[in-house]
Symmetry: C2
Subunit: 368 residues, 2 copies
């Protein structure tokens, strides 16, 4: 997913596969192999010895072990070091894949491994749960969300953050269903957040790979937006303080990304529906009786439904390259009054004060 999407947008990709699986894990069964950390190292050494490691951007996604996380960090640091005299020449987009909706699905050592690397990242893409894990702030409302982002900016020195799936119980005053949104920020020179938010229409189906799709699209679109803003030779592509949240290249990039994704996922929904109708007509499922037959039937049904929901990204690459201009996917500023007394001070040692989140009450949210 990530490789194809970046290529579709014109990026030359040196992919190091951290797994070679037969299929994504949403099928609940798969075969194949996780790449050991030593192999990641070896491949990187191979690139280096032939001077093929002059990357402009590193996108890191799922790492199957803390060892692989550390190795990826080593690659990022070395590449950054090689570009010391050229600010902005290297940019690391780190998607800290650890878990979702309160559950960690990697080994526990992966969490501190990611934490220790945050300082080297330019943009991180945690979901709400991962943002909690990394910041130590429990996110219950917009104020605590903003606080988590401030902690990541100040204590972990991450210049750009997008929290890729925010679902808060009381984020509208009308008492509507919890909406899905993404919330992003580029720190100002005081490490304070400039928060923006985009609503994401949720689909009633799980699509595998959308995290990687988002990350890959943001790589290409952020670089494009920063090129337009003449920021590619500025350290961390960080906008001047007078740039408002909704005018940030990160916000502009996110608008295009969501517009593309929405179209591809909508088309995927349609194709899925056609597949389901075909299946129903063909009466594809086992009609045997008894518990075993039911179990087999359920399993078969799950496999077919999962396949039907595979994101139709290849056939719809034009929607990636030419995103529609959709008013619904405009970034809005999020104005939260944060406490002047920061609960967590910038910490040069990278040690994070955990567990302050619970004490933060609900804040004022103004969406403009």
């Amino acid at each position: 997913m990530a490789t194809f999407v970046m290529q579709a947008l014109g990026c030359e990709v040196s992919a190091i596969n951290t797994v070679q699986f037969s299929n994504h894990t949403g099928y609940k069964q798969f075969k194949g192999r996780k790449t050991p950390a030593e192999e990641v190292t070896e491949l990187y050494e191979g690139l280096k010895q032939s001077h093929l490691n002059d990357f402009d951007v590193l996108l890191s996604g799922y790492c199957p072990s803390a060892g692989v996380v550390q190795q990826v960090g080593k690659i990022a640091r070395e590449t950054r070091f090689a570009s010391t005299t050229k600010p902005g020449a290297f940019f690391w987009v780190l998607d800290p894949v650890m878990g979702d909706e309160g559950k960690i699905y990697v080994s526990e050592e992966v969490v501190p491994a990611y934490k220790s690397l945050l300082r080297d990242a330019d943009l991180i893409l945690p979901n709400q749960f991962e943002a909690e894990l990394l910041s130590g702030v429990t996110i219950t409302d917009f104020k605590s969300l903003a606080e988590a982002i401030r902690v990541l900016h100040r204590s972990h020195r991450v210049p750009h953050i997008i929290i890729t799936s925010v679902r808060l119980p009381h984020d509208t005053e009308q008492g509507d269903e919890p909406e899905l949104s993404i919330v992003g920020s580029t720190a100002d020179s005081d490490f304070n957040p400039r928060l923006f938010r985009l609503k994401v229409p949720a689909f009633p189906v799980f699509f595998s790979g959308t995290g990687d799709m988002f990350a890959a699209l943001i790589v290409a679109r952020l670089r494009e937006a920063c090129l337009a803003a003449d920021l590619l030779t500025t350290a961390h592509w960080q906008s001047p303080d007078d740039v408002a949240a909704t005018e940030l290249p990160l916000a502009k990039a996110a608008e295009k990304v969501l517009a593309s994704m929405h179209l591809v996922l909508k088309k995927t929904m349609d194709s899925r529906q056609e597949e389901l109708e075909k299946m129903t007509r063909a009466q594809e499922f086992n009609t045997g009786i008894g518990e075993e037959a039911d179990k087999d039937n359920e399993r078969e049904k799950h496999l077919r439904l999962t396949k039907a929901a595979e994101v139709r990204v290849v056939r719809n690459w034009k929607d990636l390259v030419y995103p529609p201009d959709i008013e619904a996917f405009k970034a809005h500023a999020v104005n939260v009054e944060l406490d002047a007394n920061l609960p967590i001070e910038p910490d040069e040692l990278g040690v994070v004060n955990m567990g302050t989140g619970h004490e933060i009450g609900q804040g004022a949210v103004h969406q403009t």
Copy 2:
């Protein structure tokens, strides 16, 4: 290369990587790992258990061992068997990567392994040397070339063949330099060749991956041409006997493929030239003295030249999708008078009579 090119042309690809290397071997140094045959088997079993093995087309390329070749053959045969009642529903494009210009660069057991699989392939893409290895016919002129193709059609029952790089010493009567061309054929119902030829403008630089690029493009373009000719439900997508060589879908596909490739390689040449000029300006190479410095210098130079010649396929995907209509890339019929007494009879056991090639003299070539 192959995965991206097929995706760019709208194919959904389930890629099984037969190697994970840091870079292509043209750099003369690389790190990484060849996939063991058992892992290919395992990944295929994984696809199968979730019903993800309903392939329309299989493209097989470089296999690092005879074991992997055999495993690929097993995948092809099983997929073919599953589509027994649906002629044309499965098509195998086999690129028998073994060597070039008289040299074998795989282990020797790979050659018989490929031979035993030819009967299951729909289209094979050998270069001139590989065609000799598979047919047992030494290719010295157009008559022996045609004979090699007839042997592959008749004895090995391969319906479609393209010999991807033909360089014959006396292929023009003007005494010009040997030209590079591709020669293809779709057998008629008597297993006789229908030969066509396309000239390929040669570049004075080695580009790595062009074999895979050709194979991937031909997959998409042949299917497209066979769809247009309403052949996708005909066994092996084989055209009726009244279709002339130059009107074959294989010939039509090859025209588009070469037009796309030529444009991408021409742009690659230009980009390469720019890189070389940058290097010269920056005086990038070691200017130390002595034999060691020379050696280092040579090695560094080779690495940089190789990198500069990387095929610019990602940034030029539009040339893949929209091939220019270029008169120079039109297929021409090749009329060779072959002996009526076939030196090799169709052999249902798949045993091939080897070594007849040397006795075949130069034939008459008429290019129309």
